[in-house]
Structure formats: structure tokens, C-alpha cells
């Protein structure tokens, strides 16, 4: 796709040291960027003529445990004028998952970043409202991490009826 090549080339010439890799899979272009320049790259993508990625569709966080760097954050950008998509991706190490918040550039990222603060335990510096969003404030751990158990509860059968019934005192009416 020549059009996407021009986008990638523009990014490469503007940030020669921050673009780590470019992957094309099933027609989606993913640009792997370094986390230090994320905010600048986002601002460049939004404001530059010919890129104009004004709509942040989605922020997706992935835990690649036990691989290292452990966390991945994929920002799906979309341009309303050009009807084109681009994905920016960055990798974060497991021991200090810290990244700049892109909320100043894309206000739509506000809650999506809070979601990963909550479920993956990633710290977003400069976020206007860093609180848990989906889970109660006193929750321990980050459930979307791969080393967090799913929390499976055994099904009640006749052989373990009493054992399970102990957890449900109110069901004995």
C-alpha cells in the first residue's frame, strides 16, 4: 500500500530514533514506537497534514507474560478525512510499566487508560484522574494480568454438597 508507506516514511523521517519496527499483518499496519516519544508521535499523527489521525478508536492492552517486555499497548488511530487507520504499539517492561498519558492529545484515551491502570496495573504519568474504574477502590491485584487467577469456583455436586453449601449460609432457608 503506497499510501501507508508515505505515512510510515513520514513518521520515520520525523522520529528516526523512536520508530522501532513496522509490521504489516492482514492489511493492518502497526508501527512499534518507543515509549519516551509516544506523546510527540501522537501529536505529530494528529496535527500533520497528510496524516490527520484525529480519532482515537481504541487502546488495547495485552499482557505477554512470561515474555519480556511484558506489556503491550496498541493505539488504533483513525483519520476521518482520509478514511485510513494506523496502529501505534509500544512495549513496556514488566517491572516498571510506566508510560505517558496521551489524554492531552486524545481526550478519548482518558477512560481507556484508566481501564488498564485498573486491570493491568500500568501507570500513566500525567493522567488527569488516575483512579480505578471498573473494580472497587480497595481491590487487590490487576485481574487481566496472566498471573492473576481467573477465580474459578467449584460446581456443587452431590459429593461436595456440604462443602460448597458452607459458603452460602443464606441459601439454607
Amino acid at each position: 500500500m503506497p499510501e501507508l508507506d508515505s505515512v510510515v516514511n513520514a513518521l520515520k523521517s520525523a522520529f528516526p530514533d523512536a520508530i522501532e519496527d513496522v509490521q504489516v499483518f492482514r492489511g493492518d499496519t502497526t508501527v512499534i514506537v518507543s515509549r519516551e516519544r509516544l506523546l510527540d508521535i501522537c501529536r505529530y499523527c494528529r496535527d500533520t497534514e497528510g496524516l490527520e489521525y484525529d480519532f482515537l478508536s481504541d487502546v488495547a492492552g495485552v499482557d505477554y507474560y512470561p515474555a519480556e517486555p511484558r506489556f503491550g499497548l496498541a493505539y488504533s488511530l483513525y483519520s476521518m478525512n482520509r478514511n485510513a487507520s494506523l496502529r501505534l504499539k509500544l512495549m513496556l517492561p514488566g517491572e516498571d510499566p510506566v508510560v505517558d498519558s496521551v489524554t492531552p492529545v486524545y481526550p478519548a484515551a482518558n477512560w481507556q487508560e484508566r481501564e488498564y491502570l485498573d486491570l493491568l496495573g500500568i501507570t500513566f504519568t500525567g493522567h488527569p484522574d488516575p483512579r480505578r474504574i471498573l473494580l472497587p477502590d480497595d481491590w487487590e491485584g490487576h485481574p487481566l494480568r496472566k498471573d492473576y487467577p481467573l477465580g474459578y469456583e467449584t460446581v456443587q455436586f452431590s459429593f461436595n454438597y456440604d462443602e460448597i453449601a458452607k459458603h452460602k449460609p443464606l441459601a439454607q432457608k
Binding site: F25, R26, T30, S57, D58, N83, Y106, W111, R132
Partner: protein
């Protein structure tokens, strides 16, 4: 005499929210009111913390998570086909749309081709779901603002749609009808006549709803000029679907990035001008008519042919082959015990749900279970835009504004 309010430390309970409310709230000058999570007009279990100056909303802080189901985590522990049933229950008014986006993501990963008949059946399913969802929205939105009878009318028509779902899938709501590589089964012979009867009938019903609301002075007073959001703000905040189109941006994913044979249909994208609650209402009502246009074309041009892909690595063989083909038995056994293994990779797919852009980010590591399934859900994003829409309006208008963005809490909390 010392009153309680003099001793009360207004700032203490607001400590976690202090950078979201104004300074006047910390001194007790403005009132902080809790709304929900159990409130008849929050459409489920939404909680709002409101800062009020008299009756004017100064700040609105949504608090979600009261329906957090852990669907994304739960899907990682199931096989691709088994995880499909979870997507139904995510946005429970757009079941087929959720199936569709998940199946499209799997098909993009696996480069699986879907026959044209299946594409058309998917369009029929998705558009009927859109009608279903808009009917529930119209009924409850009108009821929030005070028009009770519309609720009864809308649910009367909705039952007919649910009957058709039951006809093709055996379930009223959680259909799981759209499967990777096609649909579950072909339609039954009595489905198309029923659908045609419904399509003949329904335009009159929409007119009926409109006579009750569109020019009703009470309805106009309660909806016009409130909940304004400009096109620039809507794009910056990530709004999509009717919420964005109400502000005048004609962006519809069915037109912009066509999926599932939508490029073969002729329909318009209705847009509003003012970006207020009334315009969002008009856009959705017009969408009901456009969905009918799509359905009419789909029924007329429904092609013959297979209803699911022939790729035996992903799609089970037909029942009739199991009796005489050993290979079919092996494929059937492998599919239902091991599941299929899409190649390693990451894809993002978006579809137009009744509420806006519904996206699925699917990561495969080559195993039969999804490594990560993430859903970009429109209600979640629209709720984060709710403060921008509601600041400066009366608290009584807030109910209308919440209704106009059409949130489903299951969609937002997942």
C-alpha cells in the same frame, strides 16, 4: 446553636474526587449529590456523582463498574468457539453485532472466506438487532422523559423481532447465531415470509411513534437545546454512531469501511445539525427507516448457496457427511474437542453497532484459545463524554441526556 453543617468537613468524603469537582464543592457551597447505582433512569447500574449549583449541573462524574463481568479475562480461558457465547452477553441489546465483530476478527486472523449467502444473513441479523436495540432505546428514552405509552408500543414491535430470532436460532436474546465462517444454520422456510410481513407493517409503526413524539411540544421542549456537543469535541472524545452523527459528522462504518457485504446495499447516513438530544433522537428514528431499506434489499436479493464456509479446519462439516465420510468425523471430532488454531497475530476489526463503533482487538498466539480479546465498546467511550455533554444543564435534563447517548451498562463494563 451550632448546626451539624458547621462541624461537617465537606472536603473529607470528596478527597478522592477533589481534582474533578470545583473548589466550591470542597467548602460546601455547591451540593454534591449521588445518583444511582440503583436509579430508575440510569439504564441499569450507572452511578453519577453530581455537583449542583441550585439545579444546574456544575460537574458530573460517572462511576461505572457495577456490572463488571470479567468477560475479557473469561474469554481467554475458553476456546474460540466457546468464547463466542460470552460476546452475546456483553452488549445485550446488540447480540448479533457482538457475534459479528468477534467472528470478523477470527476470520481476519485466519483469512477465512465467508459465502455470500452467509454475508446476507449476517446483514439481516445485524439490522434486525439494530431495530431491536433502537426500539428498546426509544421506549425507555421516551419513558424517562415522561411519555409512558411509547414504551408499550415499542415493546410490542420488539416481540415480533424476537420471535424471528427464535425462529432462526432457537433463542430470543442470546442467539449466538453468527459463527466463525458463516452462520449457525440456514434460515427456516417460514422465516422470510414472517420477515416480509414485518417489513410491510413496520413503516406505519414508525410513523405512529413519530406522531407521538416528533412534533409534540412537550417532547421538543424537553429535548431541544440540551446535551449539546460540537462535532470537534465529539471526535476528540471518541464519540461515534448516532451520537457523532447527531452533531453533523456523516461517519458510518458500514459506508466508510464496508464489512460483510454492506457495500452492496443502498442506504443513506442520516445526520443531525445541532448536536442536541432532539437531533440524536431524529437520527435514530431515521436509522430505523434506513435499516428497513437494507432489510428489504437483503430479502429481495438473498442469494442461494452455502450458509457457511467450506474450510473444514474452522467450520464443522454438515451433519449429513458424518454418516459416510471418515474424514468428516475426524474434523468434527477435532473441532469440538481441540478447537481450531488461527495463526499467530493481532488484528483490530470495527463494525457499526446501534450505539457506535464496536471494535474487537484479538490476539492469537497460535493456540486454540484467544490470548487476548479486547472489545472497544461504544457505551464506555460515550459515558466518558457524558460530563462534557451535561455541564451547565439542569438536573432534570440530565435524564434525557443519558438516554440520548443510549448506553448499555453491560457494554460499558464488560
Amino acid at each position: 446553636m451550632t448546626t451539624v453543617s458547621e462541624e461537617y468537613d465537606w472536603a473529607a468524603p470528596l478527597e478522592p474526587l477533589k481534582n474533578l469537582v470545583s473548589e466550591r464543592a470542597l467548602s460546601g457551597e455547591t451540593m454534591v449529590l449521588n445518583m444511582g447505582p440503583q436509579h430508575p433512569s440510569t439504564h441499569g447500574v450507572l452511578r453519577l456523582v453530581l455537583e449542583l449549583d441550585g439545579e444546574t449541573v456544575v460537574n458530573c462524574i460517572p462511576d461505572i463498574g457495577y456490572l463488571h463481568t470479567g468477560i475479557e479475562k473469561n474469554m481467554e480461558s475458553k476456546k474460540y468457539e466457546g468464547a463466542l457465547v460470552m460476546t452475546d452477553r456483553m452488549d445485550y441489546l446488540n447480540n448479533m453485532g457482538n457475534n459479528l465483530v468477534y467472528c470478523l476478527a477470527i476470520e481476519k486472523l485466519a483469512e477465512l472466506d465467508v459465502p455470500l449467502r452467509a454475508q446476507y444473513l449476517r446483514v439481516i441479523g445485524a439490522e434486525l438487532t439494530r431495530l431491536n436495540s433502537h426500539l428498546v432505546w426509544l421506549g425507555t428514552h421516551a419513558m424517562d422523559i415522561g411519555a409512558m405509552s411509547l414504551f408499550l408500543y415499542c415493546f410490542r414491535e420488539r416481540e415480533r423481532i424476537l420471535d424471528m430470532f427464535e425462529m432462526i436460532s432457537g433463542q430470543r436474546m442470546m442467539t449466538s447465531y453468527i459463527r466463525p465462517g458463516g452462520v449457525w444454520r440456514d434460515i427456516t422456510p417460514d422465516f422470510l415470509p414472517t420477515l416480509r410481513g414485518f417489513l410491510d407493517d413496520f413503516p406505519r409503526r414508525i410513523d405512529e411513534y413519530e406522531t407521538l413524539l416528533t412534533n409534540n411540544p412537550l417532547w421538543r421542549d424537553r429535548t431541544q437545546g440540551i446535551g449539546f456537543i460540537s462535532a470537534e469535541d465529539a471526535i476528540a472524545l471518541g464519540c461515534s454512531g448516532p451520537t457523532l452523527r447527531g452533531s453533523g459528522v456523516a461517519w458510518d462504518i458500514r459506508k466508510a469501511i464496508p464489512y460483510s457485504a454492506y457495500d452492496q446495499f443502498d442506504f443513506d447516513v442520516p445526520v443531525g445539525r445541532n448536536g442536541d438530544v432532539y437531533d440524536r433522537y431524529m437520527v435514530r428514528v431515521e436509522e430505523l427507516r434506513q435499516s428497513l431499506r437494507i432489510l428489504n434489499q437483503a430479502v429481495k436479493n438473498l442469494p442461494n448457496g452455502p450458509f457457511r464456509s467450506n474450510n473444514r479446519k474452522y467450520v464443522p462439516p454438515p451433519r449429513s457427511e458424518l454418516g459416510h465420510s471418515m474424514e468428516a468425523v475426524i474434523h468434527h471430532f477435532k473441532l469440538w474437542t481441540e478447537g481450531f488454531r488461527p495463526p499467530k497475530g493481532e488484528v483490530y476489526v470495527r463494525v457499526e453497532s446501534p450505539r457506535g463503533e464496536l471494535g474487537c482487538f484479538l490476539v492469537s498466539d497460535g493456540s486454540p484459545r484467544p490470548w487476548r480479546a479486547h472489545f472497544r465498546t461504544p457505551s464506555f467511550i460515550h459515558l466518558s463524554a457524558l460530563p462534557a455533554m451535561s455541564q451547565g444543564y439542569m438536573i432534570a435534563d440530565l435524564v434525557g441526556i443519558i438516554g440520548s447517548v443510549d448506553i448499555v451498562l453491560g457494554d460499558s463494563d464488560r
